[in-house]
């Protein structure tokens, strides 16, 4: 008998095997009591860089709980993630769990499960403020799993070369003038002082949002400010904090490493230049570590300094860096059965508070905002720096960021870019931001 015959035989067997499988599937779905009935839930993931981590996690959970099968609905980086979620909802196939931006939790609020601290005891393990951050319009519908932060990143090796090892105190940068003096000293040593990444998400989503968030330490301070902009009862150019941040932006633009061509916005290239020490600072967040850690021949020690907006060290924002919960886990109750919702809640408990579940996140480098995370964990230098600011209580509450939905940061970010290359002046920028917010209902 040659191989061809074997192949033919197998081919003939195939339909038979398939038929048997189908029969078995039919029986298995009919039999069994309702108690240990297998539950299948789906997980929509917008953290595209860790699709594989979640898959491993689901496999492990399935080993422990054979009745629960979790299926990943992955998305790609830069793929239309919001659109995919919209189409899942529009076709009545909403995922059970979704790992999404806070803005999505607000958008889908009517369809989401509301967590309750009485029922879900494990929520107590969250760090202070996390429950508040996941509460939108009075309903706790999102639970966070990671903390991120941003500010002015600096390269420790470069700074040490300029100031001498150990002579630089990050706390000394608490006014715009001290930042200017700091930049001048670095430039005098022949190193470009800073870098702006010329993309609308960086300047619109992150930089401009600082001026909203620094209206006050409570989320309502920022959202209240936005509400007034939407009503048209205030103009952004009358706000001293916004003016202050724009003055600081002018300063950053003056010492910008990308000054010759500010809008190239090549993310990998910018990070590479910064990590190689071609410039001393960069306005960015600790998520950049995921790119930098894979680069060859770059520095590994970084820290954050605040972006001061005035010359008064006491002002909120001048000695703080941003700490934000970028993603939330939410559960859909509109398309999913009670059993599925319950299975999802149980899974979230295991994933977020069980040491085994947490380990997946820790190994991937996430900083988890839970009290029972093992204490000996060592993060990268950027995350450590953020964590230190957090421990000292020196963080800017970026809660209002969650309410900046839709195309806000693209549209206002595009205006910021025009201002950066001096295509428009500050008054035109203010007019543009005012009219954008007034057009939002």
């Amino acid at each position: 008998m040659d191989m061809g015959e074997v192949y033919m035989k197998r081919l003939k067997l195939l339909p038979l095997i398939l038929a048997l499988f189908m029969l078995a599937a039919l029986f298995s779905s009919c039999s069994g009591s309702s108690k240990d009935k297998p539950v299948k839930i789906t997980f929509f993931n917008t953290s595209a860089e860790v699709n594989a981590m979640f898959e491993e996690m689901f496999r492990r959970y399935n080993e422990i709980n054979p009745n629960v099968v979790i299926e990943l609905i992955p998305t790609g980086i830069g793929e239309g993630q919001q659109e995919k979620l919209q189409s899942l909802y529009a076709s009545g196939n909403a995922p059970t769990i979704m790992n999404v931006d806070p803005a999505n939790v607000i958008e889908y609020s009517d369809k989401l499960y509301e967590f309750s601290p009485e029922r879900e005891k494990w929520l107590e393990l969250m760090n202070d403020g996390c429950a508040d951050a996941g509460t939108f319009n009075g309903k706790l519908q999102g639970v966070a799993y990671s903390v991120q932060g941003y500010g002015l990143l600096y390269n420790k090796r470069v700074i040490d070369e300029v100031f001498g090892e150990g002579n630089f105190d990050p706390n000394s940068i608490n006014t715009r003038d001290s930042l200017k003096a700091f930049f001048e000293k670095i430039e005098a040593a022949g190193i470009p002082a800073t870098m702006l990444h010329g993309a609308n998400w960086s300047l619109g989503g992150h930089y401009l949002t600082l001026s909203y968030a620094c209206q006050g330490p409570a989320t309502s301070d920022g959202t209240g400010f936005l509400d007034k902009l939407k009503e048209g009862s205030i103009k952004i150019e009358d706000d001293p904090i916004w003016q202050g941040y724009m003055d600081t932006l002018d300063l950053l633009a003056e010492y910008n490493f990308n000054k010759a061509d500010p809008l190239v916005a090549d993310y990998n290239k910018d990070l590479q230049n910064f990590a190689e020490g071609k410039c001393a600072t960069l306005f960015m967040g600790d998520w950049s570590w995921t790119v930098i850690k894979d680069l060859e021949g770059v520095d590994t020690e970084y820290g954050f300094i605040p972006v001061p907006w005035s010359n008064n060290p006491e002002d909120y924002g001048n000695t703080q860096v941003v700490m934000v919960l970028p993603k939330f886990m939410a559960i859909d109750k509109s398309n999913n059965s009670k059993e599925q919702v319950q299975a999802a809640v149980d899974f979230l408990e295991w994933m977020l508070t069980d040491p085994e579940g947490q380990e997946f996140f820790l190994q991937a480098g996430f900083c988890m905002p839970y009290k029972n995370v093992r204490k000996d964990i060592k993060y990268n230098s950027m995350t450590e720096s953020i964590a230190q600011y957090a421990a000292e209580g020196r963080t800017i509450n970026l809660g209002c960021f969650s309410y900046i939905t839709g195309d806000a940061w693209t549209q206002t970010g595009n205006l910021m870019l025009q201002y950066l290359v001096k295509a428009i002046d500050r008054q035109q920028l203010a007019d543009g931001i005012n009219s954008y917010w007034r057009s939002v209902k």
């Binding site: 239309g80 009517d110 010329g198 061509d261 809008l263 839709g406 693209t410 549209q411 205006l415």
Partner: protein
């Protein structure tokens, strides 16, 4: 009489047997969504909300008062105009040269056609790299100011970059159509013209081009309609950058519908775009058809 009716019935039956599967698919994936989409433009539909209500023509009113859309639409017109002219001019020249009996003409034909086999997204990323790194590097070597900054960071030059890449992408494709046109011209007509004393340029303009009008119709039609609906290249090459200045009509519609969450308004813009594309391409075909001649 009876026979004729039966034959007709058979014809209709055969028509349905052969056509119905594709007709069914066509109706399901094209006609119904289009009509449904048209219907939604009269509502305030959003995919997230459960209910929607009728708002009459206000979405269309919004389209004509949306300065951004009008500005981007004008840009699209310019893009379509220049990319159509240049891609066809380049394609025609290539076809002319590559039917004149060059040695390596088959190899060259294949070479010029290749860009068309690369998808718009990949093509966009390749050219993004070229504009951002290769061109700027050449500029630095030559110390020539305008080339030292990327083409993609200046609004007008970014549109120019889009046109360059579009021409590069389509010229090879249209070249193939023009080559077919050249080859299809009967030898006897050319010979007759030569005997009558027509030479070089005169032969080209008086004999060859009039006989190739069908090829022009096809190529212009394709480049105009694809130009208006350009999306993948736009997304990969500029993504609307710098600061939203190179967002062409399709990208604006997508952004409006799915990112600004104004689905019905975006759909209304899509309908307007559809009408414009239809009118422009049909007019173009009718106008150029008048130049068609029989050999």
């Amino acid at each position: 009489m009876k026979k004729a009716i039966r034959k007709k019935r058979n014809d209709v039956g055969a028509f349905f047997v052969f056509m119905s599967p594709s007709l069914f698919a066509f109706i399901c994936v094209l006609i119904i969504p289009m009509l449904y989409g048209f219907y939604l433009t009269f509502t305030d539909y959003r995919p997230i909300a459960d209910t929607y209500s009728f708002v009459g023509l206000s979405n269309y009113k919004a389209v004509f008062t949306d300065k951004e859309f009008i500005g981007q639409f004008m840009k699209t017109l310019g893009y379509v105009f220049f990319s159509t002219i240049f891609s066809n001019a380049v394609a025609f020249m290539l076809a002319y040269i590559l039917t004149s009996g060059l040695r390596a003409q088959n190899f060259l034909r294949a070479g010029f056609f290749t860009p068309n086999l690369i998808g718009g997204i990949i093509l966009g990323y390749i050219w993004k790299f070229i504009f951002a790194n290769v061109v700027t590097n050449i500029g630095k070597r030559l110390n020539y100011g305008p080339l030292m900054t990327s083409f993609l960071t200046h609004p007008d030059r970014a549109i120019l970059a889009m046109i360059i890449v579009t021409v590069w992408q389509y010229a090879g494709y249209f070249m193939m159509i023009y080559i077919a046109g050249f080859v299809g011209i009967p030898r006897d007509v050319i010979e007759a013209a030569e005997i009558d004393g027509a030479t070089g340029i005169k032969k080209l303009f008086r004999v060859t081009i009039p006989l190739m009008v069908p090829s022009f119709i096809i190529c212009f039609f394709i480049s105009i309609s694809r130009g208006f609906m350009a999306y993948d290249l736009n997304l990969a090459l500029t993504d609307g950058d710098p600061y939203g200045s190179t967002r062409l009509a399709s990208m604006h519609i997508y952004q409006k519908a799915f990112q600004a969450n104004q689905y019905a308004a975006g759909q209304a813009e899509a309908i307007i775009l559809f009408i414009v594309v239809a009118v422009v391409s049909v007019t173009q075909v009718m106008l150029t058809k008048r130049f068609e001649v029989e050999s």
